[in-house]
Amino acid sequence: MAEELRIGVFVCRCGTNIAGFLDTEDVAKYAKTLPNVVFTRENLFSCSEAGVTDIKNAITENKLNRVVVAACTPLTHEPTFRAACEDAGLNPFLFEFVNIREQCSWVHKALREEATQKAKDLIRMGVARAALLEPRESIVTDVIPSALVIGGGIAGLTAALALANRGFEVKLVEREKKLGGMLRDLHQIYPYEIGARGFISSKIKEVEENPKIEVLTGHSLEKLGGFIGNYQATVGSGEGSAKELKVGVIIVATGASLLVPEGSFSYNGEDVINQLQLEERLKNQAFDAQNIVMIKCVGARVKERLYCSRICCMTAIKDGILIKKQNPDANVHILYRDLMCYGVANEELLRQAKELGVRFVNYSLDSPPVVEDGKVKVQSNVLGRELEIESDLVVLITPLVAREGAAELSKLLKVPLDEYKFFLEAHVKLRPNDFATDGIYICGSAHWPVSTGEAIQQALGAASRASIHLTNKKVKVEPIVSVLFDEEACRGCGLCASLCPYAAIEMVETEKGTKAKMIEVACKGCGVCAASCYKQAIKMIHYSDEQLTAQIRAAFQKKEVESGVQA
């Protein structure tokens, strides 16, 4: 390399988060001895305005051409430090982040000396990689100002309206013949007594009357090509009439289904029913039971389904209240393992249910209730004895489960599912509405069971996230992608294309024969292709073989460096 390397290392104290558990001064001193390092500095908070200004000044004054910050995680502050480099005229991809907080000080709180040594090791590895970093320019692509919303339940309808009202074209695809999703089958929505049918009908009307929204009921996604800003979605009705839609972003709002408790607690759909059947009876005013027993957590929080569906507690409580209001003499027992009544309004409902005389009986999983003819026997945890409750209607409260077809859809979209086949967001805290794939968003019960209010909240969130790209009209994609850097070596075998999880590699005919061609904007930078090419013709930018090898070698160089022997 012609250019002389001038690396600057900034060691962050993070107040006492780092400096409290390892010797940052010693670490900074050590960093100065590493190859190509011409400047080191210890900062109290590197991410503070003073810290960032310090980095910028140091770059200019010392003509730094590589910057290493040893601090926290890229997830929180990489953008901050990249921006600082850019402001000082340094390409942001010449910045290297070393994590000495989450991966060092915090986990080795009792081992000051070892933690200090580990921080040195990590920085030595970072400096080795930094020396091989290459400048990159962001990839910019146009965004088609239109969105595809998959699912016409409350979440999908809300997201579609939110985007349409901001002036964007929306294609709303619903698998069923009618819009409305699960709310069409519900009676009332908690925590306030709002009729589900009327509420969803008005939403549907609003959507159908909106000129910006094209509704495609009876259609589902069959094929998806392209990438953020430029997706080609093929939707069809399964009867041969496929339609191609060009959209910039996609929102997934496919909802969830209620688990049918087939085979448990003598479920028969007549006097032992599920929650949806209860809703239906209440809605149709066909409810006349006198002694009602609801059993919660049927098929939930059990071995094969460990999760809590969250919304069923409140639905049961709401239904209990409705029954008591309709017939104060009715006996309503709710058999529960735990109660999920989060939030002010929900707590209030629980109190109201108790006041109205709904009785709550705590049972445990190891002695579940037994449903017999006309009665339910249950071991009460509070009383410490078995209760025999008269019943003419048993309602089994089951959890929401992932929709059938979630796996197929996730494959088409190339987005992940969790172990229960619910869609998995990019990050549980930091990016709750996004998928890891840019340009695709998630809301509602497709992600995890939510109430109507939460579905609306999430739909607005997803629409808001999606509208960022639609408004900007252009999207910047991280240029951390794989490239065919040795076209000569490529044999056109197609192994990389078959392994790419994002269909970002196509095989093309060139004058020199079949060659791999990378579609930069579609590449997410997983590097599977580079790790598989037997001609080593593919380079994973920013995580190249050279950079990773340098890091590995640096990790084990400790002794040589310390004893002054050249590596």
């Binding site: 190339k414 987005v415 992940p416 599912l417 969790d418 172990e419 998995l424 990019a426 990050h427 549980v428 890891a436 075998c493 192994l495 078959s498 392994l499 999880p501 994002y502 997410k524 930078g525 997983c526 590097g527 599977v528 580079a530 790790a531 598989s532 090419c533 037997y534 080593q536 994973m540 995580y543 073989d545 990773l548 090898t549 590995i552 070698r553 990790a555 084990f556």
Partner: protein, 228 residues
């Protein structure tokens, strides 16, 4: 960085740098942040373990564990177990009974083998063959893959090791068999195959002993020459 980026060559690099163990952390099955990168890692790790075992290195020194970012306790559990196991195994080569020079040669052969076409194809097609079957629609079971992995790992490593051992001085079948701890019959079988591929040539210094010499130096041999 996706675990799918972990090139088996990098794993060998770490061992050759003096690492006594390599731990690869990956997303949970089906929860990969890069769709299915972790599945490809599973195949790569399984194959690399076979290669290590074939070269006399305890495969426990390479571990892949899957967990979500929310499972801190699980991570600690895995790392602690890994650390305990590596402590038990001691320094690389010690429990294996391999002298440093011998270990270096064995690892070098493994590294070149893992860089090459055959092993990369086998592992690259692992998922596809398991899910969709090969060109003829034949699906492979885990058991069949295991056997396939065993076979190709053994063949490829042996070929590379013969190349490395015969590049400086020609050796007889008997010499090679002793050095590599293999039967002369197996060594000969490989040599004959390798000769057909143009990888080795027959040499004879006196009229009695037949010796074999590498006709091509492995790519790795060239690379290490450069870095020296």
């Amino acid at each position: 960085m996706c675990s799918g980026r972990v090139d088996p060559v990098l794993i060998l690099e770490a061992f050759m740098c003096g690492s006594d163990g390599v731990f690869i952390g990956a997303c949970l099955p089906g929860e990969c942040h890069y769709a299915d990168g972790n599945f490809s890692t599973m195949g790569k790790v399984a194959l690399t373990q076979k290669v290590l075992a074939n070269q006399g290195v305890n495969p426990d020194r390479l571990v892949m564990r899957m967990m979500s970012s929310a499972e801190g306790a699980k991570f600690v559990e895995h790392v602690t177990a890994f650390q305990d196991r590596i402590k038990e195994l001691g320094k690389l080569g010690s429990t294996e009974g391999l002298q440093p020079s011998e270990l270096e040669l064995k690892l070098k052969a493994a590294k070149v083998a893992l860089k090459g076409k055959k092993l990369r194809w086998v592992v690259g097609k692992y998922m596809e063959f398991q899910q969709q079957g090969n060109l003829y629609g034949e699906k492979f079971t885990q058991h069949e893959f295991n056997r396939l992995f065993d076979e190709v790992a053994m063949d490829e490593c042996t070929i590379q090791e013969i190349l490395l051992r015969t590049q400086d001085e020609p050796l007889s079948v008997k010499n090679l068999a002793e050095l590599m701890g293999l039967s002369p019959r197996r060594v000969l079988r490989h040599l004959v195959d390798m000769r057909k591929m143009g990888l080795v040539v027959l040499e004879s210094d006196d009229k009695k002993t037949v010796t074999w010499r590498a006709a091509v130096s492995s790519a790795e041999a060239i690379e290490s020459e450069k870095t020296k």
